[in-house]
Amino acid sequence: MNSEHKFNVAIIGAGPAGIGVALGLTKRGIKSVVLIERNDDIGGVPSIYKKKKSGIPTFINWIRGRVIFGEDYAGWLHQKLSKTDVRIWRASKVLRIDPERKSITLVNSEKGPLDITANAVVLACGAREKSPVEFGWLSGARSGRIFFSKNLLELIDQHDILPLKKPVVIGSDLNAYAIAAKLKQSGAEKVAIIDNRQRPKSPLFSRLYFRLWKSKPKFHAHVESVTFKGNGAPSAVVLDNGTSIPCDGIVLSGDLIPNSELALLARLKMDIPSRKPMVNSNFQLSEPAIFAAGNILGGFHGAEWCYFNGLKVAKKVAEYVKNG
């Protein structure tokens, strides 16, 4: 194998966690680190929360003691990274990992499919939003305009398009309240939030924060089942108690599901159905050369938690590669 394709540490995913790992490793003097990102640019989820005049800053940055725009947060990470000699491969999709051979197969437009090896691999692949079947209490028509909140943000922030005027948001976590505020701020008339919980999952202080931005969505609690109505596009959602909420689209914003497919397909130990890879206290998977960092570990964590977690994992990875 070409020495150009041999690394000490390969990090898959260049969001806050992956960048945190890369910075932590650099700080500890670890050389030959490659950061592999499937998107065209690094920064992960924060980078899609663009800085806009009408926008709402939602990313807490304790280091600087304020709430900032996601895009700024990503920029801050980017800047720190640019001072290191970490190699960054953008628009490169990892197809599979082979834990035994410690190899990674990836594809990108320059190199085609390609194998690289590394002494340690860190999965910092983040998480995605639950699909309707993963919620388990959503059913009905599979029409248009059923959005993940990420898709919605892409339309609003990158294309200045407001796709929904009367949306129903499914899920009540911080992200759900943030997207409700974003929709309101962008011109939506009325926003409803639905969850099967008794109280919103998002803490009170964050809900109050969004009130500052004139977002006060109506919360429908303890909904046990929801049926989507409509043909081409949703026209209403019907709750189990018979309440019908008219709408022109649906936003799914539930708990996050770890992007743990690489571990799943490599038959590393996983928890199903949560899809969390099983890790020990050193963040190692069932194969010791494979580590995990950030939201892939499960739960809902903000960018800063992921960044700090990345630094923490870097310490363990550094110990592992130093001890060979």
């Binding site: 594809v107 437009s109 599979r142 248009g144 898709n151 796709p163 081409g232 159905p273």
Partner: protein, 511 residues
């Protein structure tokens, strides 16, 4: 397919449709009446268009949806049946059995992914076990002679994680799986190449006759298209159209089948179709590997009124029932990650299956209905059977067209089946084959562009989904939907906010 002789048009004058494909005037199609107009571009209608395109005939294939195969044909178990359990001696049984022998070679020609994975019928209690002999005999009577009765241990060997209650079973080695989406697409693309005109998004409201026995398709939009022979294979829409030309009355209703889709990671635990033994109460729930590498559990059988829009919706109870049923055959399925669900509708007919009526109401009209769930398998044999009938009953003259092709080029094989980037040098020649857009199925930018450039020029999110398998993976479009919408917008010159899921009314942006 460099030389495409037919025209593809869409009856949609809005901004959501590619400009030069818009159907605004019948003169875009023809002056003279078509020799044959086929209403309905599902598996049966498109198979008929494909087979008829081998002859020197002027043919129109028309459908109300904005893609082919978007009705009953899109939501099936995607099994190519052997017909082992069909009612002996019926036309359905004959056509299914003979078609099942065609698919091996036909799938090669059509470039439709196909795999003979085999099926195992599993008996999990005494009542079921006692039925095995009867089912075995029925298979032989249906001409499916390679079936084999299995002992308990033989079933366990074939399906290691099968239910511990297993009593015995039967193997049906030729039961196969196919990419059902690609069937209508492949047939239509070849038909189009051979000169068949295809009109989509255009609903036929009525068929009438003028003098000199020319029929007229009267579209809902008011436009009229003349044809000498009309074949009504409009699935659940066929009875309403038949009323307008005075065809013999028949009653249709959608019969819903709900399915659960399991993650690719679950595919390694079952590689055969697992069939339950039907009891007096229920036909039971199947466990089906899919050609794209997932697993399905289903279907339900729920009857709806014709026209009831909820017939394609999934329900929580229905999905729970499927999970419970499937775990009777295969208990470990309950712990497997589920990624999605869908509901399809079979075309059920009160008057019986495979209703075929020549010169129905008016001379030169053929009505075909009640194909229920077996059309995916039977369509090539059914098309041949119908062509024989058209010749005999309606006097259609069949002169082979020496220039007609009967296969798709190699490049039509969908990328998810054989990823282009795995071919040596492919990424060097086309760097966009290395640019992954759908991260679950690893589908590249290049494959999406190829789909947009394919003969039917699809431009809806669902049409691209059925050709590339994007938006179908475990994230169900979380990652790729907007990127694909952007690609369609850019490549087809459609404003981003006018991109639709499946036609007008399903725009990604509400008005």
């Amino acid at each position: 397919m460099s030389d495409i002789k037919g025209k593809i048009l869409y009856e949609w004058l809005g901004e959501g449709c590619i400009k030069n494909l818009q159907f605004s005037d019948p003169s875009q199609l023809t002056g003279d009446p078509y020799d044959i107009a086929i209403i309905g571009a599902g598996v049966v209608g498109s198979a008929l268009a494909y087979k008829l395109s081998q002859y020197s005939l002027r043919i129109l294939l028309v459908d109300e949806k904005f893609d082919v195969g978007e009705g009953t044909s899109k939501g099936s178990s995607a099994i190519i049946h052997t017909g082992f359990d069909a009612a002996v001696g019926t036309l359905e049984s004959r056509l299914v059995t003979s078609a099942s022998l065609m698919w091996h070679e036909l799938s090669e020609k059509l470039k439709v992914p196909f795999q003979q994975c085999g099926a195992v019928l599993v008996a999990v209690d005494d009542e079921q076990y006692n039925q095995l002999d009867k089912i075995y005999q029925k298979s032989l009577d249906n001409g499916v002679e390679d079936v084999k009765l299995l002992t308990k241990n033989e079933v366990k060997e074939l399906v290691p994680d099968v239910s511990p209650n297993v009593r015995g079973g039967m193997s049906i080695p030729r039961e196969s799986i196919i990419d059902a989406f690609s069937i209508s697409i492949a047939f239509s693309e070849i038909a189009l190449t051979n000169g068949v005109d295809i009109l989509l998004g255009s609903r036929v409201a009525a068929v009438t006759e003028s003098g000199n026995s020319v029929k007229h398709l009267k579209m809902a939009s008011g436009k009229e298209i003349p044809a000498k022979i009309v074949v009504n294979v409009a699935g659940l829409g066929s009875s309403k159209i038949a009323e307008t030309y005075g065809g013999e009355h028949f009653d249709l209703n959608p019969r819903r089948g709900q399915f659960i889709i399991f993650d690719e990671a679950s595919r390694s635990i079952v590689n055969k179709i697992l069939l339950p033994i039907p009891t007096a109460q229920t036909k039971g729930v199947l466990v089906i590997p899919t050609i794209s590498g997932n697993l399905l559990a289903g279907p339900t059988a729920e009857d709806f009124e014709l026209g009831d829009k909820s017939a394609t919706a999934t329900t929580i109870d229905g999905l729970e029932l499927m999970l419970k049923g499937a775990s009777k055959l295969f208990p470990s399925l309950t712990g497997e990650p589920r990624i999605g669900s869908f509901a399809g509708v079979r075309c059920a007919c009160k008057q019986g299956t495979y209703q075929i009526r020549y010169n129905d109401g008016l001379p030169g009209i053929l009505t075909v209905s009640g194909i229920r769930s077996t059309g995916v398998t039977s369509c090539p044999a059914l098309a041949e059977y119908l062509i024989e009938g058209l010749k005999k009953e309606c006097g259609v003259s069949l002169k082979p067209d020496p220039q007609a092709v009967d296969s798709r080029p190699e490049s039509s094989l969908p990328g998810w089946w054989k990823h282009p980037y795995e071919k040596n040098g492919a990424v060097k020649a086309r760097p966009d084959y290395g640019q992954i857009i759908c991260n679950c199925e690893n589908i590249s930018h290049g494959e999406i562009i190829d789909a947009l450039d394919s003969p039917l020029k699809p431009f809806t999110l669902d049409a691209i989904k059925r050709r590339t398998w994007t938006q179908t993976g475990r994230c169900q479009g979380f990652d790729c939907t907007m990127k694909i919408a952007e690609l369609i917008s850019e490549h087809c010159g459609i404003p981003l906010d006018k991109i639709t899921k499946n036609g007008p009314g399903s725009e990604i942006v509400s008005r």
